[in-house]
């Protein structure tokens, strides 16, 4: 009876699915061709000659571009666009680019009064001519002085960002010393992390393995780095309990780092004998092939606990659903905000964004990490205060906080 019901439901779903698909796959009705609009003929006036044309080495770059600027044309200049001509080491001028946006508004005119030439020949001087294009005629500017691009060691535009980074770093370093001085630092409860021991214990009792995925991030991803430190803590526990820990990797460099981290954890726990390098292995760099491979491992090995910590994209739900289908306890964590809903829906515990970064501190309670966490909280407090002060000041017409933030960003 039950089987008949299931078959009936499957058939109903199939019929709905196929009919939906056919309906969606129908080609839309052709749109009748609209009457061609009459092209607006620009007035037949000679364009103004571009004035004040200058070519300068683009500041704060690696010496690979020159920026040409000229005055914004007046509204009745008759200019419909510009062509940029360049010569190399005093040779003939050649056309290298054009700015043909219709100049119907002041904003548009303002946007096209410069051209960044990113196709220069290194260690070579270039001169430029700007040719204004009118409806029927053109007008050329004077040739600019020859310019050679140079690389800059420092990006002066990033100084405000550098100062703000120094402030954040000072807060973190100060708190690290505070924590190292033996001061107790409180860390609030993170439910997902309290389940780590439960998950490892469950796998040990069931005699099954633990699967740990750091996702698709590279070695420089902040989430991957956070995931690596969590893996180090998980590996300490699996070393204690002698539970097999399997880590499929998407990036060969991440795999090497993970091997080092897990090996260190096993050494720290005095169990180098049970460390097996082959348990941390490379699958593939292709996103969905990786998902297919990890799914296959889940189904065949049936791990009792699955950790999905790091950067995930569209494969998040595929992995989490498969883990759910085999009845594994799943602890996920990511800072990819679009994947968090899927983890929340399909996993037992989920670390949301910043919780992933705090996780290693929570698990290890090392003074350095505790101090770093407190420093980050101070940074958040600073943002908190900036936001409230910014809102109040904006409401009374003072906008220096917004201007400062604009400069920094």
């Amino acid at each position: 009876m039950k089987q008949k019901k299931i078959v009936l439901w499957i058939m109903v779903c199939m019929v709905m699915f196929i009919s939906g698909t056919i309906a969606f796959s129908q080609e839309p009705a052709p749109i009748p061709p609209s009457e061609p609009e009459e092209a607006e003929v620009p007035p037949s006036v000679d364009p103004d000659v571009p004035s004040n044309v200058t070519a300068k080495d683009t500041p704060n770059d690696d010496g690979t571009s020159i920026t040409v600027t000229w005055d914004i044309p007046p509204e009745d200049s008759g200019v419909v666009g510009y062509k940029i001509l360049r010569n190399t080491n005093g040779g003939d001028f050649e056309e290298i680019g054009e700015q043909l946006t219709p100049l119907d508004t002041y904003d548009k005119r303002e946007k096209i009064n410069k051209y960044k030439d990113s196709k220069i020949v290194k260690d070579t001087s270039h001169a430029y001519i700007v040719r204004a294009i009118g409806a029927n005629t053109t007008a050329e500017s004077q040739q600019t002085a020859a310019v050679m691009a140079k690389a800059q060691w420092f990006h002066t535009g990033e100084i405000p960002l550098f100062i703000s980074m120094l402030i954040f770093c000072a807060a973190i370093v100060g708190n690290v010393y505070y924590a190292k001085g033996g001061k107790d630092i409180f860390v609030r409860r993170i439910p997902g992390l309290e389940a780590v021991d439960e998950a490892i214990g469950r796998a040990t009792e069931m005699g099954r393995s633990i699967l740990y995925s750091t996702g698709l991030g590279g070695v420089s991803d902040v989430a991957t780095i956070a995931s690596m430190t969590i893996l180090g803590q998980v590996a300490r526990r699996t070393a204690d309990y002698e539970t097999p820990l399997r880590v499929p990797c998407k990036d060969p460099i991440v795999m090497n780092v993970l091997r080092e981290m897990v090996k260190s954890s096993y050494l720290d726990e005095g169990r180098p004998d049970i460390y097996n390098e082959d348990n941390i292995f490379f699958i593939t760099e292709s996103q969905f092939a990786y998902a297919a491979g990890v799914d296959g491992i889940m189904l065949r090995e049936k791990p009792a606990a699955i950790f999905l910590q790091g950067t995930f994209y569209a494969e998040s739900l595929i992995l989490a659903e498969t883990g759910n289908s085999i009845g594994a306890i799943q602890i996920a964590g990511t800072d990819s905000e679009h994947q968090l809903p899927f983890f929340i829906a399909a996993c037992d515990y989920t670390l949301i964004g910043e919780e992933l970064y705090a996780a290693s501190t929570y698990l290890s309670r090392e003074p350095m990490l505790l101090g770093s966490l407190r420093g980050q909280d101070l940074g958040k407090l600073l943002i908190f205060v900036t936001m409230i002060a910014g809102v109040v000041l904006e409401l009374i017409g003072i906008n220096w906080i917004t201007t400062l933030l604009q400069r920094v960003s």
Partner: protein, 227 residues
Amino acid sequence: MQVFGIWVAAFLTLCIYSFLYQDNPLYRFAEHLFVGISVGYGIVLSIHEGFIPLAWNPIWASLTGDSLSGLWKLIPIFFGLLFFARLSPRHTWLIRYPIAILIGFGAGIAIPNVLRANIFEQTRGTIEPFSVIHSQTTGTAVEVMPSGEFTVFIIGAVLMVIGVICTLTYFFFSVEHRGPISWLSKVGICFLMVGFGSAFGNTVMGRVTLLIQRVDFLLNTWIGSIF
């Protein structure tokens, strides 16, 4: 040849979909084929887009005397080669140098961008609407908003500030969540869940589109090629 390609694609699609029933030899075949091909393709891509233009060509140009600047590449190549130290148990420790460089370099590149995009831009975006509110109420705005639109704008700006402040409170880890902090963080969770709900719906719609595309291939391209 094209028909053959369609048949192969349809067969592999069905093999992968057979996973919905349970693990089976067909799925395993498609999975291993997929993984194997992607690894092979990745290696070829690394050689043609990484090794040849970034390492081989500059070094060869230096050896032939075309451009000596390629010799600088020997430094990163040397550190890259240290990854092979893993093959010798006595020299495995050498691998820590390229790893340290990679993580340090990666974090150095990532942190300023994270600060800029996730902190300063977001903070500015939350504050800026209040400048519009000020200009609208004091009559200094270039374009005056209709009163209904302005009311909605004010509600949106205030909700945004409340949402950001409450959500930020949830992510304070070194403070116990009691009293007002607890309340603020609970409101923050509500905002998070609303955000996740909308992201969930949005992404599911995208995935359904992908499914439709695949089924469209099976029904129209594949079955269509038979009849």
